[in-house]
Symmetry: D2
Subunit: 366 residues, 4 copies
């Protein structure tokens, strides 16, 4: 039922609107005895924080997380963890027009139609600000995973922004956190910056493609048939604002492959089975294989733009909508840390789920 909750065992409920007093996440089902602090979580939030470069919204939010419950003397107690982020930079302004107009491509009209009422200030609940709460919850998941699966490493990066693609030949993982685009391609940074600058100057916005990888994910996670790892990852990504597509491994390209080409052949390595390729993206039958989990998702261009577009208002009158305010020209950029947080939550959730059913034991090979 859970409109605003995700997860089976590690359950995260986010709450809050863009311009309300605060937003946050209620995290239930967290294992006890895990070291955690506001500082640890803050690192993840700072990556997503707006106003850090010209490439993202100029809204200045410290996004300072407070842990209100569930942690005692620096450790989780197994009770719900409440993570609160106060909204501080809610510019007071006249919402007159925007409160009655529906931005094309935005959730304004559907929230109005469904609920008959909407908090129009900054997009209310449909604002991408909600994702700050996910990132905070993801920080908790990362702390638990660091203790339970020490070798796991989750990282995302942009591979495309509009007409620009990274050059995989120059792939450098260390570069990802050094540039404002989260791209693993140092040479492309300036070019992307110019490209996005021109987009912004043209009162336009642009879409993006993100790739997400989990290395060191144990085999055996994922619960067929309707709580498969790929099913839950697809749902997690698709739930992020503006995401329009998700693919695992070969993804959409699998439609043109043959079975001979797509087979990931297996050999016996010193530590167990080894796959000679990873067309599957680390998941077979909804269960992880032990290979890297690899997925990609697309983010549509920001719908709030300065270029006038035709629309209607609540009175049913036709209007031209120009969205002023502080909006990311490419929302895909800040989707990177959000997606990492979602993936951390999903993997942890399946780790706990698997402990429940199988006790974490594994069938032997050899």
């Amino acid at each position: 039922m859970s409109f605003n909750t995700f997860g089976h065992v590690f359950r995260v409920t986010t709450w809050g609107e863009s311009h309300g007093p605060a937003l946050g996440a209620t995290v239930d089902g967290c294992p006890p005895g895990i070291e955690i602090s506001e500082e640890f979580i803050q690192v993840f939030l700072d990556r997503r924080r707006p106003g850090q470069s010209k490439q993202t919204t100029q809204r200045q939010e410290p996004d300072q997380v407070r842990i209100l419950s569930g942690v005692f003397e620096g450790k989780t107690t197994g009770t719900p963890i409440q993570l609160m982020i106060e909204n501080t930079d809610q510019r007071s302004r006249d919402y007159g027009e925007i409160s009655r107009q529906f931005r094309p491509g935005h959730a304004d009209i559907t929230y109005h139609q469904k609920y008959g009422i909407r908090d129009y200030r900054g997009g209310g609940r449909s604002s991408a600000r909600e994702t700050a709460a996910r990132v905070a919850a993801g920080g908790v998941a990362q702390a638990v995973l660091a203790q339970l699966v020490p070798g796991l490493r989750i990282f995302g990066y942009m591979i495309q922004m509009g007409a620009k693609h990274i050059n995989r030949a120059r792939f450098d993982r260390e570069e990802i956190l050094r540039n404002p685009f989260f791209i693993p391609d140092a040479e492309a940074v300036d070019e992307w910056a110019d490209y996005l600058g021109a987009i912004r100057k043209n009162h336009n916005s642009v879409g993006a493609m993100i790739e997400l990888v989990a290395e060191g994910c144990p085999a055996g996670l994922g619960a067929p048939i309707y709580a498969k790892m790929d099913t839950d990852l697809a749902a997690a990504m698709m739930s992020i604002n503006a995401v329009k597509g998700v693919e695992i491994g070969e993804g959409m390209a699998a439609a043109e492959l043959t079975g001979v080409d797509n087979a990931d052949e297996i050999v016996m390595g010193p530590n167990g089975p080894e796959f000679l390729s990873n067309h599957a993206g680390g998941i077979l039958g909804g269960i992880t294989t032990g290979q890297p989990v690899v997925l990609r998702f697309s983010v549509k261009p920001t719908s709030s733009i300065l270029t006038p577009r035709r629309s209607i208002n609540t009175a049913g009158e036709e209007v031209e909508v120009i969205t002023k305010g502080r909006h990311d020209p490419c929302v895909g950029i800040r989707a990177v840390p959000v997606a990492e947080a979602m993936m951390a939550c999903v993997i942890l959730d399946h780790l706990l789920l698997d402990r429940a059913q199988t006790g974490g034991r594994r069938g032997q090979i050899g």
Copy 2:
């Protein structure tokens, strides 16, 4: 938790293995007083049934559904509906080798690793035969939707099979159910048949892309943030065997669009808001707009092929695997009725979910 259940209110639990005595679906939460019969459901099952053309597995299964509960004097009573399909064509054979080997690209190895035991006969629980249960449940959903949303029409069709694409200029909806590929392009049928024949002769298989549309879906369905309509549809598609990617509206292509191009402008029509385009695929902010819901998903090539591939067995020995037996050379074909069934279930589920929270009332425009 619900490993084998999907849906929030209209909840479907499937059960059964490929070569066990039977398989089926337990449908809970169905509205009462809906006319339903085994014959009505059978129509959907017959579309998915194997052995009907050269293009699908030659396994002969009548796939005859029996309603064991929840229906009285031809109407649903609001209690759980048990739909059972007996397995009849389970060829007795020697499973010696296959019981110990892992087919590359198949769930054999992950089920073994997770559970330490697997029903290897015909793929057991991971077999695509499980999807027959979904189609039966989808039949129930279709019966309810026919009464509650008379104008709704859900239909899927293949748009790509390996190197072959349909020609959208020849799109003919009536053609879909007339050919074994479920393609809306009569002229392409022979060409596709030749192509797939060659694939099969080469002991190979091939992937596919399916498009799925819901016309007449009311506005206001979908529950942000984590039970969005697109989120639930993505999960539903990704849960189907062999699916590797899902996209809504512009989908993965949204990554290269600009905000100006992607905006679906709105005007006021005689019956309310009208959109001038549908880049969004009928969903904004996770809630339906009233436009057609449009999605696509890819299906990887069948992993069970006659071409030898390298793999290992349960003893950890390296082996060459050749999968004999009756396998679809393109599992994507029969995924069409399965996807329609899943979409019917998801839309009905959200209709009921929306009745719960909003009572089905809608915010006015104009």
Copy 3:
């Protein structure tokens, strides 16, 4: 949401009506690798089976369970287990009157009011026959518990039937399964038989009280705040047909106790903490203490009786209702194996739930 499902991880969905072709239970989340057979489950069903003595309904049902899925070569596979019991003794008869009348004290009227339609044959879904499905599912839980918690022993017994109470001074656990009342008091059996015989001859029925004990239940099971062990046990008992009250430990009598009297003092025994009393009934703060879990529940008298009672029919006309047919004069008797099954399911569910969150580790004392 789960109208017909109980359990968090070990999830049981029952389906079926009294006079339909079959009824059963879909069991999801069962650990893999557990030895199980139809014979093992049948033992539990046979205890609950009608027609075995004069004290219960004369309906003759073999209640033979079939495992349709989830078990392979005698072991659970981790996939859903479908348990089906075919209805064989559905006497064909004229339901004319009963189909339109509402028995006082029965669910006839509320099912009619809620759903607008009901399967009136033998009570349909509201019949106590549904509990056969629970007993079958409980058999699966017992098999898992036998492997995971070898020392656990769950047993129930009647302590009261109308005006008759057992004499606890004569308590003999071995006696419980030797008499048709499931009472631990051999000397009382004849007296109870005479008493119930007189009730039946008077076209009457009578209520009952059952006590249920789990010995050897490990400490640490139960998940505060809303999935407490006592909360879930109370819900499980209250869900059984005709149950009107549930209490744990001192139960309703706790209202008259003082804190000094009610304290279960603790000393240090050779194997850890030992309690000097068990007013708590083995549960503190919703979590098991390691002491025996003790609860009691009341069952109201059968509402289907031969004595005429005033009621109305679907046309709104006042009528006198006499319920013919084969009804237990005391439904409490057969509630004993049903309650044991429910307790087995709840304890197993919490064992798995605890594995998920804590990994089954325990805080040390001393």
Copy 4:
């Protein structure tokens, strides 16, 4: 899964510890467009607030609720409502001893055993302070019910405290909110006050029995078989701290009744069916009949008392425990508004659940 969540559609997750910075409730699934304010909710919290009379703990907490999300311009928006109550009167003190000792009859030992860590300050998560969050959530439910079911009235009252019982011949509903015991019997107030004063002076505490009634509850609410109205009410009551038993209608006394006596005969009144008695407590087959829903539950005596009791500490040493601090001598008193809140949540939840499945339509009689 939902450790800290209750409800199917109207879902309440509570969070927070007794001596942490704050506690609260996240309310998801609330219908949109409902008028609500902090003042409205505060009325319910003030009833439960400590420090208002000699009969309850002297801890002084304003228990001021803040709405952090989900409400816009005085109305619910359909998004999650975050209700936060800051803890202000957390006396700083030395917890040295209590941090290592286990109070007999308290959750200290089970939290320690389960989680290996516990917030011992004031009982942490197991403190009755958690119930403030429920009362706040209940206030939201009351606001929704006031709009959707105008005739509904939910009220609870004590009927027993230790050796003292109310005199039902003097039952006066108006009196309930006028005395510190929530008893409908004005003449008993002084006597009860003296009785409880003596209990306190003796360094003791005492149990209680509460009766809870919902008048004007519509027929048709409750979802058989495992989300029955009585099942969910029993779970809701049993989840309240210190509750040890719950009964509906005749409750435990049903064990001694006969079917003839227990039958609630039905006649046809001017507005539909009328029952001549209410042994059932307003629920048949798990579905409301339209009669008053009547239940009772017992509350054990406070386990924190000044009389020394034998126990052990975390080092496994035997100790004598005396619990100083500000504790209610009868926790049952403040359980009254908590139980009302839980009942409001459960009834609203079932109202929404019923809208989902049946659309709120009702089978006709006459």
